[in-house]
């Protein structure tokens, strides 16, 4: 396998070490090595590497540049909120702090190129310099000239430099409208199931055998592979649940060879993990604590999404209910629901063709303030005066993001709102005030 990583100009043992650190990425690493050529040779001006999350893009670049001791600057575009930071980081890692301090306060691209050239003439490159830009998709939001300039930086600074862009987005969505120098495109494919198994099996527990750990990984992948192929996520889950897997072994109930019993023990546990810890409903710490407290059933702990209960004032609850009804019921049906003498109308009679689809599928509709208040007065049993506090409660519901104001044209005159809460939430609210909201919803008639 290591035979792939052979390249003149680099020491054999270093390449060996690189190959050890890059399992299942020999092809890509070999391709990159051949693109980079020998250290003193000129490489291609820019290389664009794309692939899904956790497909080893940064890792491969990092290991290659680190182990082969090539001069490089790794820049994360998330951190560089302004181009000044980007330039500073590049100069810092190539030429030291003196060069970085030469940059003016808000440097332009030409400042950077000038200082780079100046420094470069003092210490010319003996080896290819590499700039690795992580999360390169953010470069599209910076100045329009930055990405095209980076792509042909070799030409601009007249130095042996290669820019490597790493991204999860394909190059088609990067290309500036005015055209640019096309980089070399390199794709990192996803890890297959076998490769994931191979990589995950590497970090085995020292006190157990390798076969046991790889059979555990096999079970884990059997449960999670259909929903998750992210290596980092899987590794996290593997680390979290391994202690549970080993429990029967530690208690001496089962032998290591008895995989079926181990599987019977761990499988429901993993399925529960998918619903809780994988969705971050329960934090990893809570999950570990739960595994230790054996008597408490896992999953009995209420997750994050169970905490949807909000304490609201009495009228605010009714206002929210009224807003929900106004958002999800067609205005034509208001008379039928909220007036006392409306006459008997069957639902089939006023079904319009376009209203056959459920409003709950289409999402909330905007409604004017008048309609909200009309519904509010009809659902509240007692007489309520339209005081300032009622209106201020509406606006505070907006600030709590339970309602949203659509059309920002006018604050005072006939504002329109939308209700932004879910069905479960409004049901819980209406239960507290003994209001049967389902009876009033057009969709559930």
């Amino acid at each position: 396998m290591t035979a792939l990583l052979q390249h003149p100009g680099y020491e054999e043992e270093r390449l060996q070490r690189v190959a050890e650190q890059l399992p299942c990425r020999e092809v890509q690493a070999g391709l990159l090595l051949s693109l980079m050529g020998q250290p003193q040779q000129y490489s291609y001006p820019s290389i664009f590497i794309y692939g899904h999350r956790a497909s080893g893009k940064s890792h491969v670049m990092h290991v290659l540049l680190k182990e082969l001791e090539l001069p490089h600057a790794t820049v994360s575009c998330v951190e560089c909120v302004s181009v000044a930071l980007l330039f500073e980081q590049v100069l810092l890692s190539f030429f030291g702090c003196d060069a970085a301090s030469l940059l003016p306060r808000s440097p332009s691209l030409s400042d950077f190129v000038r200082i780079y050239k100046q420094q470069c003439s003092q210490s010319p490159a003996k080896q290819t310099r590499y700039i690795v830009m992580e999360k390169a998709e953010l470069l599209r939001d910076t100045d329009a000239n930055l990405l095209p300039a980076l792509l042909r930086l070799q030409e601009l600074v007249e130095d042996n430099i290669t820019v490597i862009l790493l991204s999860e987005i394909a190059w088609d969505k990067f290309r500036p409208n005015t055209g640019c120098f096309e980089p070399l495109l390199l794709h990192f494919p996803d890890y297959s199931k076998g490769e994931l198994q191979q990589i995950l099996s590497q970090d085995r527990h020292p006190s157990y055998s390798a076969e046991l750990y790889s059979s555990y990984i096999n079970i884990l992948l059997g449960v999670f592979y259909s929903v998750c192929r992210d290596l980092r996520e899987l590794r996290h889950l593997a680390a979290l649940n391994f202690s549970k897997f080993c429990e029967p072994l530690a208690e001496g109930k089962v032998k290591e060879t008895d995989t079926h019993k181990l599987w019977r023990n761990i499988e429901p546990h993993l399925k529960k993990a998918m619903q809780t810890v994988y969705l971050r409903e329960v934090s990893s710490l809570q999950w570990e604590q739960m595994q230790q407290m054996e008597e408490k059933e896992t999953g009995a702990l209420r997750g994050l999404s169970a905490h949807t209960h909000v304490e609201l004032p009495y009228y605010s609850k009714f206002l929210l209910i009224a807003a929900y009804l106004a958002s999800y019921n067609p205005a034509r049906t208001d008379k039928r629901f909220f007036l006392k003498h409306h006459g008997k109308i069957r639902k089939t009679n006023f079904l319009k063709k376009n209203e056959k689809t459920s409003n709950h599928l289409l999402g909330p509709k905007p409604f004017p303030l008048d309609r909200l208040l009309a519904i509010f007065y009809s659902v509240v049993d007692s007489r309520v005066a339209p005081t300032a506090s009622i209106f201020s409660q509406i606006s505070s519901l907006v600030t709590l993001q339970l309602l949203t104001q659509v059309s920002h044209d006018d604050q005072l005159d006939a504002p329109k709102y939308k209700c932004a809460v879910s069905m479960d939430f409004i049901c819980a609210i209406s239960r507290t005030v003994n209001f049967d909201i389902v009876k009033y919803l057009y969709d559930f008639l």
């Binding site: 003016p104 599209r140 088609d172 969505k173 990067f174 290309r175 409208n177 055209g179």
Partner: protein, 396 residues
């Protein structure tokens, strides 16, 4: 900051070569920057401006004049000629001496820089824009016993426009002062500029002394070239006539005309290798130069595009026909493109390659595209007419 921030043309170490043959001689004479001995076909305008400025200088009063005309009709050249003549007249004591100052709106980073430049050219003082305005205000409104008249030429007037129009207002207000002795000549391209962009109090101060330079007719253009050549026999008569007729029909721009003539001499020089050439610039050379200058680059670009690019343009037009609109999304066009590929017997290309083709066409402005991050949903429009595309695609 860099020491040599202002770019400049490197200075010439050897003197310019003397023209060696007739064609080179013609080329130097036809160059736009070579000042002609006289300006033919602008005698009337010259006379009007001359008498206007001369009368103001002799009377010691001020005034404004607005000169308009399309580019290349000799506005700036005529005013400079007038100033040269007046300077000469002042030197021989026919008229009282005067200052001549010239500012150009295009050469300023900010309209308020006009004050700074005027002050510097008048007195050599340097000041900030506000201070310069105050100094000029004082200079033009106070009486001074031995003050000379000032003639101010403002080229590219439209670039001095500001929101409050105070620069223009001051420029036109100073001549109306009693002791100003300032004559302002303004030059711009459009005739109705005062009505369009100036507010009333500025336009009224500019006054009604206006002059518009008409585009040259073909006879005038011919006369200009012959007077420039001045007995250097380099052109055939018919060739000159063709150039002047073509240019007069399109724009009447004398600079354009000179450019084409110079290019034609170059072409003639290249083709002088074959023995049949007479050494004169003939009809064929001029035709070639005209084609180079006037033909559309788009059609050539389409003709030289790659097979897939041409196919993509075909697909764009097919999709427009199908939709009956002048706009389509990439995915709609791409479906057509795939179908066309199959019809032509080519391997259908992938979406990425299709996007690359599309964006290459967009980068050379044959297509108008939305930002590339919209992917296959970006909308496509043609930047050239459909007929041009069809003509270019059919020609081969």
């Amino acid at each position: 900051t860099p020491r040599h921030a202002t770019p400049s043309i490197p200075s010439r170490s050897l003197p310019a070569r003397q023209p060696a043959n007739v064609l080179e001689e013609a080329r130097t004479r036809l160059h736009v920057s070579s000042v002609p001995e006289s300006l033919p076909c602008r005698e009337q305008e010259f006379q009007d401006i001359y008498s206007f400025v001369e009368s103001k200088i002799i009377d010691g009063t001020g005034g404004c004049m607005y000169i308009s005309g399309v580019p290349g009709t000799g506005k700036t050249a005529t005013v400079h000629e007038v100033m040269r003549c007046l300077q000469h007249a002042a030197d021989v004591d026919e008229i009282p001496p005067f200052h001549f100052i010239e500012i150009n709106g295009m050469k300023m980073t900010d309209p308020h820089q006009a004050y700074v430049q005027i002050l510097q050219k008048l007195t050599g003082q340097k000041a900030t824009a506000d201070h310069a305005a105050a100094l000029l205000e004082k200079r033009f409104s106070n009486a001074a016993p031995r003050k000379e008249s000032t003639v101010l030429l403002v080229d590219e007037l439209d670039l001095l426009w500001t929101r409050k129009q105070n620069v223009m207002y001051n420029l036109f207000d100073w001549p109306t002062r009693r002791h100003a002795r300032l004559v302002v000549l303004t030059i711009a391209n459009t005739m109705d500029l005062p009505e369009r962009i100036m507010i009333n109090r500025v336009a009224s101060r500019l006054g009604l002394t206006r002059m518009s330079f008409q585009p040259y007719s073909f006879k005038q253009l011919q006369q200009i070239i012959t007077s420039r050549l001045n007995k250097v026999k380099a052109f055939e008569e018919d060739a000159l006539q063709l150039v002047s007729r073509k240019v007069a029909a399109l724009s009447g721009d004398a600079r354009r005309c000179l450019d084409i003539c110079r290019r034609a001499t170059e072409i003639c020089e290249h083709s002088s290798a074959d023995p049949s050439a007479t050494g004169l610039v003939g009809m064929s050379h001029v035709m070639e130069a005209l084609n180079e200058m006037f033909s559309s680059a788009y059609i050539t670009a389409i003709k030289c595009a790659s097979l897939q690019e041409q196919l993509f343009l075909r697909a764009v037009i097919a999709e427009f026909r199908r939709l009956g609109l002048e706009e389509a999304t990439f995915q709609q066009v791409f479906v057509q493109h795939q179908a066309l590929c199959r019809v032509e017997g080519l391997q259908p290309i992938s979406v990425s390659e299709g996007l690359a083709v599309c964006q290459r066409l967009g980068a050379c402005r044959l297509l108008l595209l939305e930002p590339s991050r919209l992917g296959v949903l970006q909308r496509i429009r043609l930047n050239v007419s459909q007929d041009d595309v069809l003509y270019a695609l059919k020609a081969d």
